[in-house]
């Protein structure tokens, strides 16, 4: 507040460039910051490496920024670094995926989607569709998860696997393999599933990139009638939905995500009250209601 009026806000992101969600997030963040005369930003990327992220936290503290936004590579490992910022009097805002409870004392606010709920919603989308088709008592589902070890991947998988038996107790998840957030890898995994299982009714993928990879495999093998449900509705997923190949997903905008994080930081620095958990809504999107949503830009 004192430095010539401008707020210096540093952000250390998880792994930009690994997918277009994170890239779009970075772009949107920079744009939002440039649109605000009161804000100067230092934008860093940890490349998925905890050690690098902690070093970046130290660098930001050393550079005396006014606030730090962190997209944790690991929700627990960064706690001591967050504590350091806290001790240095720098407010910390967590974005996209939260840090563990032990660290809550050291952060001002979290802003982002609720991944567990997302997983649960995907389960509901799938179950509803099965009921509509009348196969809720026999359907077999395969599950393609994101990159092993990533919080987002873990939380979505957990949300899905906990919720599915609640809504559709007779649907079985016959196999789970990671697709590493990667369309090609997911396609390969699906190819093997198709050989292995003669009867697959549904595919849940941790995001639409992987979902579309699986869809490509099914198309190539000529297997129709499979219900594909994903998460993080990417442009490819939206298109596949429009084409009638892909059933549903979860609508989540990286632009909203980035703007929310920056706004939270600005609010904190301006002394406004902010809620501690600042979830932005991520609604269900299916072929039925997709008209209500614009096509994702990423």
């Amino acid at each position: 507040e004192s430095h010539g009026g401008a707020m210096k806000i540093g952000i250390t992101q998880n792994n930009v460039g690994v997918d277009s969600y994170q890239t779009t997030y970075e772009k949107a963040f920079i744009e939002a910051a440039e649109g605000n005369d009161m804000v100067e930003t230092i934008v860093l990327d940890a490349g998925g490496d905890v050690a690098r992220q902690i070093a970046q936290m130290e660098d930001l503290i050393q550079q005396d920024v006014d606030a730090i936004i962190i997209w944790p590579t690991n929700g627990e490992a960064v706690i001591p670094a967050v504590r350091k910022a806290h001790q240095a009097g720098i407010p910390v805002i967590v974005t996209n995926s939260n840090i563990a409870e032990q660290g809550f004392d050291f952060v001002k606010s979290f802003s982002g989607p609720d991944n567990i709920t997302q997983g649960a919603r995907s389960a509901e989308i799938m179950c509803d569709k099965f009921k509509e088709m009348g196969i809720e008592d026999e359907a077999q589902v395969v599950h393609i998860t994101g990159q092993p070890g990533y919080t987002t991947a873990i939380e979505r998988a957990k949300g899905f696997e906990d919720r599915l038996p609640e809504v559709c107790p007779n649907v079985t998840v016959v196999d789970t393999q990671p697709g590493d957030w990667n369309r090609e890898k997911s396609q390969q995994v699906m190819e093997a599933f198709l050989v292995k299982y003669d009867d697959i009714d549904g595919v849940y993928a941790g995001d639409d990139n992987m979902g579309v990879g699986a869809l490509n495999a099914a198309k190539a093998a000529g297997r129709d009638g499979i219900i594909f449900v994903g998460a993080t509705n990417f442009a490819v997923g939206y298109e596949a939905m429009a084409a009638g190949d892909y059933w549903g997903s979860i609508y989540q905008s990286p632009v909203d995500d980035a703007k929310a994080a920056l706004q939270t930081a600005v609010d904190v620095l301006s002394g406004e009250e902010v809620p501690f958990l600042n979830y932005f809504d991520t609604p269900k999107i299916t072929q039925d209601n997709m008209g209500d949503f614009t096509k994702p830009v990423f």
Binding site: S20, T23, T24, A192, F193, V195, N209
Partner: protein, 324 residues
């Protein structure tokens, strides 16, 4: 005069340890799940191995010439993104040659650094791994690249088409393997590649232009990468920036599994193909058996080491003495 050993024929056979390894674990997987050997599955594995395989063909040249190429994964992402982007801008007929030209430029740059400037290939290609990734991100703005009209383009033929009942990627892979295999084994150029990798100084003393030979190896590698990128792009008609990430090590593993020495001077295209198939079938087989992915990691580790060890033991004649 030297006496010929009577067991020579047997020992020549016994030297093909890698083939024995391949056969052994094909049998093991088939017992575990008979679908493993079904035509559908075999086609599916070979088709998805084709991308890795085509890249491995080029890297075989580089490795035999005594160098490494760790940039192929990153470069494949680049080709894929570029050809997809250009597809909608200038149409497929122009997009393909343009993408090949751009990828070959990257290959030429590496070839120049390693061949003519004699810089260490491990570091140069490690650097290029990162630099080309940056280039791809800049080119695409970090966004996924997708073809607008996925149904109406003939571009999908390279990845999804079939001819004579065989998937096109497999045909490309086989044709390229034959072409490059003959080049390596039977042409003067192939001989030069072996000589340069075996002993670069002696090759120079024999009038072989070492720099030019290494340079062309990287061009071949880049050409293969571009082909792989083409298949990849055509297969899914859309892609992420990271589509080739991590493939460099898989490719290298396949080449070395096939028996090429990292020191250069040895290896063949045929064996690389075997290496590629082994890797492809391991991955697929373990999926079919239904192991957790992390158990697959461990099993892959053991299989790779056993296969290479078997090969080495066979070459040293130990295997033969164990059997006989």
């Amino acid at each position: 005069m030297a006496v010929f050993d009577k067991r020579e024929i047997g020992s020549v056979l016994a030297k093909q340890g890698i083939l024995i390894a391949f056969a052994l674990f094909m049998i093991a997987f088939t017992i575990a799940n008979p679908k493993f050997i079904s035509v559908d599955n075999v086609f599916s594995v070979v088709r998805s191995s084709a991308i890795l395989g085509v890249m491995a063909l080029g890297v075989t040249f580089v490795v035999i010439s005594g160098n490494l190429d760790l940039s192929v994964g990153s470069m494949m992402s680049f080709s894929t993104i570029v050809v997809l982007d250009l597809h909608d801008k200038v149409g497929p007929a122009l997009a393909i040659p343009l993408m090949f030209a751009m990828t070959l430029c990257l290959g030429a740059f590496i070839g120049f650094l390693v061949g003519y400037l004699r810089l260490n290939s491990l570091i140069v290609t490690l650097g290029m791994l990162s630099a080309i990734h940056g280039l791809t991100l800049t080119y695409s703005g970090g966004q996924n690249m997708d073809i607008a009209d996925k149904e109406g383009t003939w571009f999908s033929v390279f990845g999804q088409g079939t001819a004579l009942g065989i998937p096109v990627p497999i045909l490309i892979f086989v044709a390229l393997a034959a072409l490059l295999g003959l080049t390596l084994a039977r042409t003067p150029y192939g001989r030069k590649v072996y000589a340069v990798g075996g002993n670069g100084t002696a090759a120079t003393f024999s009038g072989i232009r070492r720099a030019r030979t290494v340079f062309t190896c990287y061009l071949i590698s880049a050409g293969c990468v571009a082909t792989a990128g083409l298949i990849q792009a055509s297969r899914s008609l859309g892609s992420q920036n990271t589509v080739g990430q991590g493939l460099e090590l898989e490719v290298l593993a396949a080449v070395i599994l096939g028996g090429a020495s990292l020191l250069g001077g040895s290896g063949t295209i045929f064996k690389t193909v075997i290496g590629v198939l082994i890797l492809g079938f391991i991955q697929n087989g373990l999926l079919l058996v239904g192991l957790q992915f992390y158990v697959q990691f461990v099993v892959t580790w053991i299989i790779i080491i056993l296969a290479v060890w078997l090969d080495i033991a066979a070459k040293r004649g130990k295997l033969w003495s164990m059997i006989a």
